[in-house]
């Protein structure tokens, strides 16, 4: 095991060192990433300055939703967010270099970069999470604690899988970054609002096609013991890991097909 992961540890280690080499610039990036998160949270705040309840959630609940969605997304973005830059890797021939090394291509792509600066947003979301957990009236059973942990982990996994899907699509679409972003960043944006405010087709899209509702909204329903809107019963909140497994299966299948398309083995 140690021997197997050593290559990846060395790869990631070299990435980390190169980012921390310029400390002041890194600190600015970190702050910038946190500031963008803060701006988005301000949007939520503005909405609740005008209305008391949105999609059955009050401000405290919306803050919890925002925090969960953003922790998952920013962690995924930190670890794997660069994979949607696939066209750049293709153009520079980096992908060919990956194919000439005795490791899986996706694993090399994932470990080829780590964007620590995006942790700025994670830190902000973490702070909001703590505050919102105190503001909300949550029945702290063991099951609910476990759900919270599972939601964070699965949410991260779901967003990571969305990034891999976005990368896979770009084997076919040469300039497909915008299209792919609609699902990654679009999914993340949708995740921080209650799915009940969307029309039914959108709700289905962001639950069962792009499973971003699983990353935050559905677990929040369980934590606050709220009834879900039509089509999204509360118990779905416990199914976050299943959603993660499902979207990862799609992502890996898509990646495999994309790589086969690239090497010309037929699509």
């Amino acid at each position: 095991m140690g021997e197997r992961t050593r290559a990846y540890r060395v790869l990631v280690g070299s990435r980390l060192r190169s980012q921390l080499a310029y400390r002041r610039s890194f600190a600015m990036d970190l702050l910038g990433s946190g500031a963008i998160g803060l701006l988005e949270f301000a949007e939520v705040y503005v909405i609740f300055a005008n209305i008391d309840v949105l999609g059955e959630l009050d401000f405290a609940a919306a803050a919890l939703l925002f925090a969960l969605a953003n922790i998952g997304f920013s962690l995924a973005d930190t670890v794997i967010g660069h994979v949607d830059q696939l066209p750049t890797y293709l153009r520079q021939g980096t992908l060919d270099a990956f194919l000439l090394r005795p490791l899986p291509v996706l694993a090399q792509l994932v470990t080829s970069d780590v964007s620590l600066r995006r942790l700025g947003r994670t830190a902000l979301a973490g702070a909001i999470l703590v505050v919102s957990l105190l503001m909300n009236d949550i029945d702290w059973t063991a099951a609910h604690v476990a759900l919270l942990v599972i939601a964070v982990l699965s949410g991260t996994a779901i967003f990571a899988a969305l990034f891999v899907c976005a990368a896979a699509v770009q084997f076919w679409l040469v300039e497909g970054a915008e299209f792919a972003n609609a699902f990654t960043y679009g999914g993340a944006y949708a995740a921080q609002y209650p799915a009940s405010i969307f029309s039914v087709p959108m709700r289905v899209l962001f639950t069962f096609v792009v499973p971003s509702a699983f990353t935050a909204y559905l677990p929040v329903l369980v934590l606050l013991d709220l009834e879900g809107p039509a089509g999204l019963p509360q118990w779905l909140g416990w199914c976050t890991p299943l959603a993660a497994v499902g979207i990862w299966a799609v992502a890996l299948g898509g990646w495999r097909a994309g790589l086969r398309h690239y090497t010309g083995a037929g699509s």
């Binding site: 060395v10 790869l11 070299s14 021939g93 060919d96 270099a97 090394r101 005795p102 010309g264 083995a265």
Partner: protein
């Protein structure tokens, strides 16, 4: 007989090119990049793989190394199917693309070597000894701790070659390794590569535009043209086959306006105000002795040298002999 290190049979690779035709319709054209190549390379050999841009060299290399799947035909590299056994093959071959980097641009070479050793799961003592050998022979010592992005082209290429050889591959494939290098750097690289071959029996396959590379490094050349085999054999054999011209350089005691009209020759250039003349001649038309005799009637020859055929010219002639695309050659020239 052991299996050849590279064994290619009736290899073909097509690309589909889509181009707009009218407002909505698009036409699909299938373009063969490699069109029925068959050849085998023996272990320990050194081969030059030559052809114009777009002749199919890079496509062939991608198929040999498992980056690209053939449309039809078979490839075996180091006794493996390159695409299906890509990861195993990666441990047995080293590949250098002269125009693309495989190093990490922000890492110094020392770190890159450490990372590559981990990727190839090399034993600490073994790879460190190998690294020291490469650092010594390629003279990398002075810039081992400089990030790759700050290296000069020559330094970077040496680093790339060291990186490709760190895991002691049996086969080294070089795609345009000397492109853009100055004469001295090229020379040092050639010395190093022949040395590696003598020392470790590394098989070499290189594509190049630099004919000195071919002359100095390889004993066999394969010329491809539009994806097809145009020639497979030795360099002198190629020159003889196309009837390549040699050039006689004559230095005269007194200037002569022109040496036009010496039987079997063609005036290539008159230099130094008529003191130096270059005459091209084919092996079938005349002999060096006959030329000398004919020139002797017009002026006294002080010195002479004979230049062997320029390989680029030889390849150009070979292409022209491939008559079916004569018109394309002319189109390119006009």
């Amino acid at each position: 007989m052991t299996e050849p290190i590279i064994d290619v049979h009736d290899l073909r690779r097509e690309f589909t090119v889509r181009s707009p035709a009218g407002r909505l319709r698009r036409t699909r054209t299938v373009v063969p990049a490699v069109d029925g190549l068959t050849f085998a390379l023996e272990t320990g050999s050194a081969t030059g793989y030559i052809g114009a841009n777009g002749a199919g060299k890079s496509t062939t290399i991608k198929m040999l190394t498992g980056i690209l799947v053939p449309t039809s035909g078979t490839v075996r590299t180091c006794e493996l199917d390159p695409v299906r056994r890509r990861k195993v093959l990666a441990r047995r071959i080293g590949v250098v693309f002269g125009q693309r980097t495989q190093l990490w641009w922000d890492l110094p070479l020392r770190e890159s070597f450490r990372t590559l050793a981990a990727i190839h799961r090399l034993e600490d003592r073994a790879w460190q000894a190998r690294r020291d050998e490469l650092v010594d022979r390629l003279d990398l010592g002075t810039f081992l701790d400089t990030p790759v992005r700050q290296l000069s082209l020559g330094q970077r290429i040496r680093g790339e070659i060291a990186a490709a050889l760190l895991h002691s591959p049996r086969l080294l494939i070089l795609d345009e390794p000397t492109i853009g290098l100055d004469v001295l750097s090229k020379e040092r690289l050639r010395v190093f590569l022949s040395e590696q071959r003598d020392l470790h029996g590394t098989t070499l396959l290189l594509t190049t535009h630099d004919m000195d590379d071919v002359q100095r490094l390889t004993e066999r050349i394969i010329v491809v043209d539009h994806g097809r085999m145009a020639y497979d054999g030795t360099l002198p054999g190629l020159a003889a086959r196309v009837g390549a011209e040699r050039v006689m350089v004559l230095d005269l005691v007194d200037p002569v306006a022109s040496l036009e009209g010496v039987p079997g020759t063609r005036v290539v250039a008159v230099e130094s105000d008529g003191l130096r003349h270059r005459l091209a001649f084919g092996p079938e038309q005349t002999t060096a002795g006959a030329i000398l005799e004919a020139v002797g009637t017009r002026g006294q020859v002080r010195d002479l040298t004979i230049e062997e055929p320029d390989i680029e010219d030889v390849v150009r002639r070979l292409y022209r002999a491939h008559s079916y695309h004569d018109h394309q050659q002319q189109a390119r020239r006009s």
